[in-house]
């Protein structure tokens, strides 16, 4: 029997049993709705995370560190007394640094210094903001630094300041800051002199300044999520000078953290994998946006699978419903099955008609389920965004966020995957009743009233 004819007969058959069709489809729809709703939110979060990572770091960037050892947390007062977290097992040697620098795929390599800074401009001072080093040579290769005004620095007398820092410094029109000099004062603070309640503002007696100078603001960078100066940037060469001062100023017992990190920019983001492997082979650990995104993706895949299981359980219940409906249909139409056989239908024709009806029930259920999930997802997303925005309106990034904070994502894979799953369950459910119909001897079926 031709597929076209099977479809025609199955459709005609279903049209007269609309109630059965709708009830069975609703069962499937509920399962698919749950499955798609949960997975689409999981997907939405995954995409948002991956996007944020891409926003704050570059795909060409690799961070290198030695393996760390020791406990990552302390549990008793005694343990916690001198607890400083896991310790690096070795330094990144000058020799290895040279070796990595000479990899053909590597564009630039630097020690990523990060300083605590007190910034002053127009008699206003802000504290506890960061200053990071970023080589001017790497600007053209990464899109990490997102300038909203001005330009990139070209020498070690210039600085890029992020919008948050400028707002804290009292700038209403951020562009006014361009071309102005800002006083940059790196400091070390002695923890023992800080009382807990002072952590938001470090008392002057606890601070030890070790270098200060005026730098010209040439660019304004966009703040990333909850950043406190992470996008305040100076060239790597100037950072090196500040760092030398830091070495002389820091107490002896503090580890020189710069010996344990190295940043590498590769020429082509496709080479991140190769370079990462080479570095791993040298006995170091690496961290890259690509690696993190990969980890997030694989983590969420597991997460989504566990979410799908809930949907599957509901689907299983609806499959029993479909099976029941099909049994009733077969019983109701026993005589008709006999007639079809008497006029020439083969066993496989009957089987195909009933299985195809199940496929249609599955597809219809899946489409209803996906549509409901899409509606519910968007309503929920809208509600969550409104709640978060009103509850956290004081946090600048949240109030400035455009679009929904958490939005469901129904990818083509999820769309077609959900339909396939629904069809699969429907076919499984219809197997036995359809086979029973197909194998029915015509005389016995015809005798049925």
């Amino acid at each position: 029997m031709k597929v076209k004819n099977i479809i025609k007969l199955a459709l005609k058959d279903l049209r007269r049993s609309k109630r059965n069709l709708i009830l069975s489809s609703i069962g499937i729809a509920i399962g698919i709705w749950l499955l798609v709703l949960m997975v689409s939110f999981g997907e939405g979060i995954r995409i948002k995370l991956a996007e944020s990572i891409k926003e704050i770091t570059s795909l060409n960037l690799i961070q290198i560190s030695p393996p760390y050892e020791g406990p990552i947390a302390c549990y008793s007062e005694e343990e916690c007394k001198d607890f400083k977290g896991p310790k690096p097992t070795k330094e990144i040697s000058q020799e290895d640094e040279e070796k990595i620098k000479n990899f053909p795929e590597v564009k630039y390599l630097w020690r990523p210094y990060r300083f605590e800074i007190e910034y002053s401009i127009n008699d206003k001072t802000v504290d506890f903001f960061a200053l990071n080093s970023f080589p001017k040579e790497a600007f053209d290769i990464t899109k990490t630094v997102n300038l909203i005004a001005g330009r990139f620095y070209q020498n070690d007398k210039e600085i890029i300041i992020e919008e948050n820092t400028l707002k804290e410094l009292g700038f209403k029109d951020l562009k006014e800051a361009l071309g102005k000099e800002i006083l940059v004062k790196p400091y070390i603070f002695e923890e023992r002199l800080i009382k807990e309640e002072y952590y938001e503002k470090i008392p002057p007696e606890a601070k030890k300044y070790y270098y200060e100078q005026n730098l010209k603001i040439v660019g304004i960078s966009k703040s990333s999520f909850l950043s406190l100066g992470e996008n305040n940037l100076i060239d790597a060469s100037l950072a090196e000078k500040i760092y030398q001062e830091y070495l002389t100023a820091k107490p002896q017992d503090i580890l020189d953290s710069s010996l344990f990190t190295l940043s590498v920019i590769v020429k082509d983001s496709k080479d991140v994998g190769i370079v990462s492997q080479k570095i791993k082979n040298m006995g170091y650990e690496i961290e890259s946006a690509q690696e993190t995104i990969k980890m997030i993706n694989s983590g969420f895949r597991t997460f989504n699978i566990s979410l799908s299981i809930f949907g599957m359980i509901v689907l299983l219940a609806s499959a029993i419903g479909i099976s029941n409906t099909m049994y009733i249909l077969v019983l109701q139409r026993k005589r008709e099955i006999g007639i079809l056989k008497a006029i020439g239908a083969k066993n496989k024709d009957i089987l195909s008609i009933y299985l195809f009806e199940a496929v249609l029930i599955g597809i219809l259920g899946a489409l209803i389920g996906i549509f409901l999930a899409w509606i519910c997802g968007n309503v929920l997303s809208f509600a969550i965004t409104k709640v978060i925005q009103s509850e956290m309106k004081d946090i600048p990034f949240v109030s400035e966020m455009k679009g929904p904070i958490l939005s469901p994502h129904i990818s083509p894979q999820l769309f077609f995957g959900a339909i396939l799953i629904a069809v699969f369950f429907s076919i499984i459910a219809a197997q036995r009743p359809a086979k029973q119909a197909a194998k029915m001897p015509p005389v016995e079926a015809l005798r049925y009233e």
């Binding site: 029997m1 031709k2 076209k4 004819n5 025609k8 007969l9 005609k12 058959d13 049209r15 007269r16 005589r335 008709e336 007639i339 079809l340 056989k341 008497a342 006029i343 020439g344 239908a345 083969k346 066993n347 024709d349 001897p441 015509p442 005389v443 015809l446």
Partner: protein, 227 residues
Amino acid sequence: MEPDIIIELKEVFKGYNLGKLKIEVLKNINFKVKKGDFLAIKGPSGSGKTTLLNLIGGLDRPDKGKILIEGENLDKFNDNQLAEYRALKAGFVFQFFNLMPHLTAIENVFLPKMFLEDIKKEDKERAKKLLLKVGLKERENHKPSELSGGEQQRIAIARALINEPKILLLDEPTGNLDSLNTQDIFELLREINQNDKTTIIIGTHNSEIEKFAQRGLKLKEGQIYES
């Protein structure tokens, strides 16, 4: 095998189990049917007419004996071959019409074609011609529930003829019809038999058939006699 014999039954037995009791419905049935015959099998209700027609129509299998159609033993056919035989060689008409209630008259007529191939324009034309032949051209888009018993039976006959079968089997086709409709149906069958040379076997207890059939057989207590 004689060349003009289309159906031959040799020592055919068929019985049913009723609990522990075995009821022999057909006992040692032997007869031959020539091509183009119009054969009436008569007998009271329960005499085994339906069982016999079901066996010839490939809807059931005998317990013992052979049913030869153009020399081929039906018992050797597997389920698929039997289905093909029913679709192509033996058209079947039932007492209770057995039309598909959700299909229109014309859809019911070309339904047996759907198990064989795509429905082409010619098939629809043929279905229309058959409806014309059975006098129901105007009713092609009506559902069975909108037709009278006589009309439904005509549709069932048109359906049985769609694949141009060599054999047409009818089981009490007029059992549910009034005498006027009965006459009409018998007339139609005679026309089909004479014009298309279709071999017809009709099982009935209606004595009117004697005016139309060329030959009669009588079933009594599971055995067959020439009448």
